[in-house]
Symmetry: C2
């Protein structure tokens, strides 16, 4: 199996600084750019990540540990972070995200999960049975998914500006 | 026009720290992962970015300033960085990249380009006439393109580990 908790933790630990380096020096024109109707801005992605970090990853882990597959994992409100952090600067949301992530990793470390723990099952409302290992892998890939989204949204802002180089830079044409 | 040099510079200035935060804590299993035959590892992407930073962006800028469209912009060896930095740790390549980027931004600042400068033309071997503005936009998007690639390659390593959550995490299925 490819998943290893210590390795997943390496990704999770790097995300606050990666987001900060990507976003903190950017003007509003970058932070409020989107890819068109129905898409998110980099600020909104950051707010989403921070809201999810407040509630879902450790919350769902605890739910699996306490209730297993007896209780359905609560639904996620993907856009709740937009209102939660309305009016906050990107820097302030980044600080909040970094603090939450550090606390959540400390909680994660405290569980001292072994291989058998990772096999414990929960029940997702739409996806059915899931394992704790899948949840922790999803936490990790969720970070990367949204880092990818931020970088893509930034890049697309210059899709026209790069002129004929567009054919070599696939990021501006990603779905 | 969307391009603004001061804004492009914000992205360029953040890239060394973004790459460092993403890569520096990762074990070799992440740094040497690829997406299959013919694809690059995160370490290789970093080596490519660093090699290109040594030669191409400021070199091409100078070529346009000095020769305009009279001289063809030299071809880029996309994989030359692999041999150039063979045996270097990711941390050492990151240090090299950060030093080069800082020097190149200082050089860029020294040009004090105005709108008319940005309209100056060069000639690309395959793409034909290009402008200095397109080159500088491409430098910016090239960073984002390869950050996107690194994040995607890392995420795909856990494509199976996330189980049914795959349907919500499109990064693992990007081309």
């Amino acid at each position: 199996m490819t998943f290893a908790l210590a390795e997943a933790r390496q990704i999770l630990a790097g995300t606050p600084d990666a987001l900060r380096a990507t976003l903190v020096g950017l003007s509003e024109s970058w932070l409020t750019a989107d890819e068109g109707p129905g898409t998110w801005t980099p600020w909104q992605v950051l707010a989403h990540l921070t809201h999810i970090e407040e509630h879902d990853w450790i919350g769902r882990t605890e739910q699996i540990l306490e209730h297993g597959a007896e209780q359905t994992l609560g639904p996620v409100d993907r856009e709740a972070g937009f209102a939660r952090f309305a009016g906050w600067s990107a820097g302030r949301v980044l600080d909040r995200f970094a603090g939450l992530r550090a606390a959540n990793l400390a909680t994660l470390d405290g569980y001292r999960f072994d291989e058998r723990d990772l096999e414990r099952q929960g029940r997702h409302a739409d996806l059915g049975l899931v394992t704790l290992e899948q949840l922790l892998a999803t936490w990790t890939v969720h970070d990367l998914n949204h880092e990818s989204q931020i970088v893509k949204t930034l890049a697309k802002r210059y899709r026209d500006a790069i002129g004929p180089w567009r054919e070599f830079l696939s990021v501006v044409d990603l779905p």
